[in-house]
Point group: C2
Chain length 468, copies 2
Amino acid sequence: MPDYALIKEELAGIDVEDHPALVKQKSRDFYWYSPILKEQLDHVTADLVVSPKSEEEVIRTLKVAFAHGVPVTPRGGGTGNYGQAMPLSGGIVLNLINMNRVREIHPGRVICEPGIIIAELDRQTKAHSGQEVRFHPSTAQTASIGGFIAGGSGGVGSITWGGLRDLGNILRLRVVTMEAEPRVLDLSTWDLQKVSHAYGTNGIITEVEMPLAPAYDWVDVIVGYDDFMDAVRFADALTHKNGILLKEVAPIAAPIPFDYFTRHKPWLKEGQSVVVLMVAPHSMAPFLAYTEQMKGDIRFRSDTVESMKGIPHAYELGWNHTTLRALKLDSNITYLQVQYPGPDHVAKVEKMTRMFADEVIGHLEFIKFDGRIQCSGLPLVRYTTKERLEEIIRLHEENGCPIFNPHRYTLEEGGMKQTDQVQLAFKKETDPKGLLNPGKMIAWDNPDFDFKSGRNYLFPGLQALGQD
Amino acid sequence: MPDYALIKEELAGIDVEDHPALVKQKSRDFYWYSPILKEQLDHVTADLVVSPKSEEEVIRTLKVAFAHGVPVTPRGGGTGNYGQAMPLSGGIVLNLINMNRVREIHPGRVICEPGIIIAELDRQTKAHSGQEVRFHPSTAQTASIGGFIAGGSGGVGSITWGGLRDLGNILRLRVVTMEAEPRVLDLSTWDLQKVSHAYGTNGIITEVEMPLAPAYDWVDVIVGYDDFMDAVRFADALTHKNGILLKEVAPIAAPIPFDYFTRHKPWLKEGQSVVVLMVAPHSMAPFLAYTEQMKGDIRFRSDTVESMKGIPHAYELGWNHTTLRALKLDSNITYLQVQYPGPDHVAKVEKMTRMFADEVIGHLEFIKFDGRIQCSGLPLVRYTTKERLEEIIRLHEENGCPIFNPHRYTLEEGGMKQTDQVQLAFKKETDPKGLLNPGKMIAWDNPDFDFKSGRNYLFPGLQALGQD
């Protein structure tokens, strides 16, 4: 057991919290979305929460942690839902939320600290020069930009810009290494893949430079269709209209909207599927003309509603918020993350929709993928057993719809199901003791793990507490 | 012969010009790009040039012209190259270049008069709020926004936004009809197709509302490749990178760049084909990283050159300017306008490139078409005979590459080769005497014309002068 009294002493001057209840609070994210992760990670907690206010304090913290061999798990807003920010082996949670300054805003880019909440970052860049980040998760009101980069992939705006993995969607990351003498590295272009979407396993992000897009007063719109596939076809056709600027296009099948979108219920029609949209104000007239042609039923418009008070943003109906709203009202619901590779993405959606009927309820997000429009999905699943969930995954994959499994806490199992050699090599260089967010990179702990075995990885270092 | 003395009297207070040399100057455009149009239209001239300063003056002019049965051909900057603004039957050229006020600028849109030069419009919207029109022709420095809408289709920026035909890329047009009592109509969404790209045959545009995109200090870049197809493949791959923001992507085959881009010659390499690009400044680092990976040879960058004095904008190497630069130095050159429908557009380009070798020299413009990236082309042609030109056109079309013939002065023959019923119906309603830009809409003059006959249309009302 590390000497936390001594560690606290060595961290004098830096904000440190060790009250067990508060530490536990900062040791969790939305892992409980998944019944499987809920069971595996429910007991996980750190020993200390350290909240640096500057890069210098980050460096001091890592130096102390390295000397004592204490794990460090970075955390932003804690809005991940695969346990990204959960300290599987205890140790220090490095809470970066106080590093929240915007440093510079230029046409097309912003430089800021990692802990700033994305909605606040957008507020500042919009006020400064009518700009905002290219895309954000549905948790923009609570997620930090650094956490999004380390643990996210895309979101609202991905219909135009693709995802964080795409060259140019992150411009620069400044990271501190986990060594006896921590180094500060500036990474750009190809080097960014070393640390983006690595859950903070190979460096602590202390500054980010992100491209900006123009900010508009996006209009929230909900369009109803009696048939889910009509909603999907409308979304697909609409997103191919070059001149209509959209930020969010999410077809969501009945009964999700009427049953779970409680604040929007007065506008919704029972039994209808919907497309949730964000439309640029200057694209509203052409959007409405096209929607009318496509026989869409405009149920809700934020630009004509009497008051938006108490009504969530449209993007808080999409992405992981769709799942969240369902879970709040029905604990038997869980979800998957599906890709429907184009150009026949609509046909794939139709096949899956028919195969599972009401057991898997459609929720798509239209995105740009390698310059082409296609859709990914976060369908809701009426959960029965682990075995059935695995079978549903298998049936998707057998039909050409790869699953990114949200019921796994490792980078590989939730992602590409193979070792990321770039990230592994970078971790060897920057975290030789393997202290950063342990248990998240299988390749580090178990280089021989066979991703094709069908076995799930269980991190041996996962806190034993409550496990048996 | 109309009584022009009386007409001038009735137009008292409006700027009118009848000096033959000056009238002839304002009766021409870049029709001479085409050896065929050069021959057909060289003698065309108006009787009067009327230059209104307001919508009220437009209305007065049309009223007078209608009463006297005088044709009216609207004109902006005169930068068309199919005789769009040439008064085939004489009469009045309605020069709209003095109606050049910007009325309102909002986030995402601008309201202005039709005669403003596009570069000046961009200058004002950029100074106001960092915005610019979504796309413009290569003649932005001399073309008016109204002329672009009436006679153009797309251009620099079409890689992101598609073309003028796409719903949402024009927001509103205000037009004055050619009747005894001219009416003023505001057209939006579907109604826009009645007047956009109609060469002013069915109404005079007096106000436009256009969507805006963010303005950046675009970086001009020229990338060299020894093989034209490598340049094409690079351009195709690059335009599919979601995170790299581009405004212009034009692969241009050797020997065009070295032989004809005289101001850029010091940076170019003989025998190399190039890709001419405009890159957002904040996308330069990822762009350069990707270009290096694709083994592109960066020949020119406007952000590192000592001075841009005397060096044209990159976009003044592309679109119709490519042809212009060649024509300046080699009068045996002409050109075509080709579509290479995707997804196999690169294969189509390769086939055509091999088929014609040095007789047809590749010039492509990457654009967005129905939400997908593909390319159109404005290849240079070493002109021998009309018959060979027709054969080259036929061979393209037989290989799935439709030609938009730039050697025709009618809407239909240069365009879809069929009657546009919407525009025809609107002309019947708004120009019952057929006085607006006569001879440009075959369907009006000869409803029975057979577009499949292979015959070219010759407008009977074309001024006889110099024809025989």
